[in-house]
């Protein structure tokens, strides 16, 4: 059977997808926060980030605010989050990975140092910081899916 094609979430997804606070994967976890930015470095204020800790089977979703900001509370023992990015202007969601610490990993090993840097969260203020750039010189690495 032919797969149903994708369409954008549009600017109003929050009424359907952000009715609950889904951004806490682990209440005792560490804060992971960042901004979703477009190709001009402008905040994407109508985007959404979903993360999946496949090893620990914990899932979360955060809409972005006017400053492009998203935030999660994620397990301290998690190494990497499988991640989808949605937004107005994105006709299909994009897949990336957020590495919460540097690990030996076949995916990272196949990337240039510049690409690797886009996938690695940085410690900041007791939490972790991870910005997602849709385009540009420091575009986040997105994966085929």
């Amino acid at each position: 059977m032919s797969r149903t094609p994708s369409q954008t979430v549009g600017p109003f997804y929050a009424i359907g997808l952000c009715r609950r606070d889904d951004n806490v994967l682990d209440p005792d976890g560490i804060e992971l926060a960042g901004r979703l930015l477009d190709g001009r470095g402008e905040p994407v204020g109508d985007g959404m980030v979903e993360v999946w800790d496949a090893a620990g089977r914990r899932w979360g979703r955060s809409g972005t605010g006017p400053d492009g900001g998203f935030a999660f509370r994620v397990p301290r023992d998690c190494d990497v989050l499988e991640t989808y990015v949605f937004a107005r202007g994105l006709l299909r969601h994009q897949r990336t990975r957020i590495y919460l610490r540097e690990i030996e990993d076949g995916v990272l090993a196949g990337l240039s140092p510049e690409q690797r840097a886009t996938l690695l969260a940085a410690p900041r203020d007791g939490g972790l910081r991870f910005d997602i750039r849709m385009q540009g010189e420091r575009q986040t690495v997105f994966f085929e899916h």
């Binding site: 059977m1 190709g39 999946w52 994966f143």
Partner: protein
């Protein structure tokens, strides 16, 4: 947001081109918001095992009783044509996906979303929130009751109107069965003018987003019915 300083002079809708494949063209120029948001670097391949991960499972706790009937979430009834929307969630081999979370959201009958950013000067309906969620049954079936959403203007280009649609978000069993899409209504006269719909360049693939009017499932003296099956990618493991 697109601005006057960021004009787009090209065609809003490109010609059909089945050679583009069945998926949507993510840098479709007529949909202006793609310009600074669609990634430009080539996608990187992942090891096979990362395409086979299972995904989150949502149980009944994700659902509230009123979630399957968007016409009964307030004191009074919303204005508009009452409709039943139903269908199956399947994988590419035709296997029904049980327990799939289906989330929907939509404009009201006047074409207005209950969202702060929506500035369309059409009335809000105090009896309509426009959001629901259901889980598929053992046979992959889902269904909900709502009102038919209106078309609305959206400023992408001069006199731009979106065809009436319901937004759908789906989780299957595997992580990569995730899908966000839109369901349209048969025979909408706005189809040829909508860059979001036409960003799927293959017309046969585009048709997969159009529901079928379902006379059998209409409820006499009460509601019209539309049927729409959703096909997610192959399940990469035995479910």
């Amino acid at each position: 947001m697109t601005t006057a300083a960021d004009p787009y002079e090209g065609p809003v809708v490109l010609p059909d081109d089945p050679s583009c494949g069945p998926e949507v063209q993510i840098d479709y120029p007529g949909y202006r918001s793609t310009r600074w948001r669609a990634p430009k670097d080539p996608l990187v391949t992942l090891p096979e095992e990362l395409h086979r991960l299972d995904g989150p499972v949502f149980g009944e706790s994700a659902i509230e009783r009123s979630d399957a009937d968007l016409t009964r979430q307030h004191e009074g009834e919303p204005l508009g044509e009452r409709i039943h929307v139903h269908g199956r969630v399947l994988d590419e081999s035709g296997r029904p996906l049980r327990g799939a979370l289906v989330e929907v959201w939509q404009a009201n009958a006047a074409g207005r979303y209950r969202h702060d950013v929506d500035r369309h000067p059409a009335p809000l309906d105090p009896n309509f929130s426009g959001a629901g969620r259901v889980l598929t049954g053992d046979d992959g079936r889902y269904g909900f009751t709502t009102i038919k959403p209106g078309a609305y203007p959206w400023q992408n280009h001069p006199n731009a109107w979106r065809p009436a649609h319901i937004h759908f978000s789906l989780f299957g069993r595997s992580f990569e069965q995730r899908l966000v899409t839109q369901m349209y209504f048969p025979g909408d006269p706005l189809f040829p003018y909508d860059p979001i719909f036409n960003a799927i360049r293959d017309p046969r693939s585009r048709e997969l987003l159009v529901a079928r009017f379902d006379l059998e499932r209409t409820e006499p003296e009460w509601a019209l019915a539309f049927e729409w099956d959703i096909v997610l990618r192959a399940t990469p493991f035995e479910p």
